[in-house]
C-alpha cells in the first residue's frame, strides 16, 4: 500500500517537474510546479514529517507560487514572448543533465547500508521539531529573521522607480 503511494506520488512529481521545464507557457509552468510541490508534500507525509508537509504547502504552493504568478502577470508574459533556443543547446542541456543523473545515482547507491536507527513515531512531529528548533537552533532562527528583514528592504529598494 505505502509502496504504491510512494510510486504514484513520485511519478506525479517527476511528470509535473518535466512539464515545468518543457511547457511553453510560463503560467502553465507555475501550475505544474504547484502540482510538484503537492506531490513532494505527500512524500513528506509518507516519511511521517507532517509539519514539513504543511509548511511546504503553505510556503511554497501558497506564498512563493503566488509571487511567481503575480510577477508573470505583471510582466504580461505568454507563449508569444517566449524566447527560443537552438536545438543544439537543448540537446546539450539534456545530455548534461542525464550525465549528472548517472553520476548522482552511481555515487548515492548504497546509502541503504549506512546505520539506520529504529524508527521513532514522533521525529517529524511539531512538538519534537519545536524543541530542537528552539534549543539547538535558536541563534540560526533569530538570524533568519534578520535575513528576512534584509530581503524585504532589498526587494522594496529594487522595486522603487527612482532611487535618489
Amino acid at each position: 500500500m505505502t509502496v504504491y503511494l510512494f510510486a504514484i506520488l513520485g511519478f506525479f512529481a517527476i511528470l509535473s517537474a518535466l512539464m515545468v521545464v518543457l511547457t511553453k507557457n510560463p503560467i502553465h509552468s507555475i501550475l505544474y510546479l504547484v502540482l510538484t510541490f503537492f506531490a513532494i508534500a505527500g512524500e513528506y507525509v509518507l516519511l511521517n514529517a507532517q509539519f514539513l508537509a504543511i509548511v511546504n504547502i503553505i510556503v511554497y504552493a501558497g506564498a512563493i507560487m503566488v509571487l511567481f504568478l503575480f510577477v508573470v502577470m505583471l510582466l504580461n508574459l505568454n507563449e508569444e514572448t517566449e524566447p527560443h533556443k537552438s536545438v543544439l543547446r537543448k540537446l546539450i542541456a539534456v545530455i548534461a543533465a542525464g550525465l549528472l543523473l548517472v553520476v548522482l545515482v552511481g555515487s548515492l547507491k548504497g546509502a541503504d547500508n549506512m546505520s539506520i536507527k529504529p524508527f521513532s513515531q514522533n521525529t517529524g512531529l511539531i512538538e519534537n521539531l519545536g524543541k530542537v528548533l528552539f534549543n539547538d537552533f535558536l541563534l540560526p532562527f533569530e538570524v533568519s529573521a534578520v535575513l528576512f528583514l534584509a530581503a524585504m528592504v532589498g526587494a522594496v529598494m529594487l522595486g522603487k522607480k527612482d532611487i535618489k
Binding site: 510560463p26 516519511l47 514529517a49 509571487l67 548515492l108 517529524g124 529594487l158
Partner: protein, 107 residues
C-alpha cells in the same frame, strides 16, 4: 502503518527520486532562456534536496535534518523575493526576460 512505511520503502528509492528531480531542475536551467522558468528550476532543485534531507532525517531518527529543511525554506523564500524584484527591474530596463539579453557585463 507509518512505522511500516519506513521499513517497506528502501532509502535508495528516495535518493533516486530526489536525484531525478534535481537533474530535471538542472536541465531546466540549461534548457530554457526565460529567467522566470530558470528561477522555478532552482526551486525544483531546492525541493529535491529538501526531500533527500527529510528522508535521511526520518531514517536516521534525527530531527536536526528536518529543522535544516525549515531553514532552507526560509532562505528560499527570501531569495525568491529579491530575485523576482531584480527580474522586474531587468524587465523594466530591457523589456524582456530573456537571459541572453543580459550579456552587457561581458568584457
Amino acid at each position: 502503518m507509518m512505522n511500516q512505511a519506513i521499513h517497506t520503502i528502501p532509502l535508495d528509492w528516495y535518493t533516486l527520486l530526489s536525484s531525478i528531480l534535481f537533474c530535471i531542475g538542472v536541465m531546466g536551467v540549461l534548457f530554457r532562456r526565460n529567467a522566470i522558468i530558470i528561477f522555478m528550476s532552482i526551486e525544483l532543485m531546492l525541493n529535491a534536496v529538501n526531500l533527500l534531507l527529510v528522508a535521511f532525517s526520518a531514517y536516521h531518527n534525527d530531527a536536526a535534518g528536518q529543522v535544516f529543511v525549515f531553514f532552507t525554506m526560509a532562505v528560499a523564500a527570501a531569495e525568491i523575493a529579491v530575485g523576482l524584484a531584480i527580474l522586474v527591474v531587468v524587465y523594466r530596463n530591457t523589456k524582456s526576460t530573456d537571459i541572453d539579453v543580459l550579456n552587457r557585463l561581458k568584457g
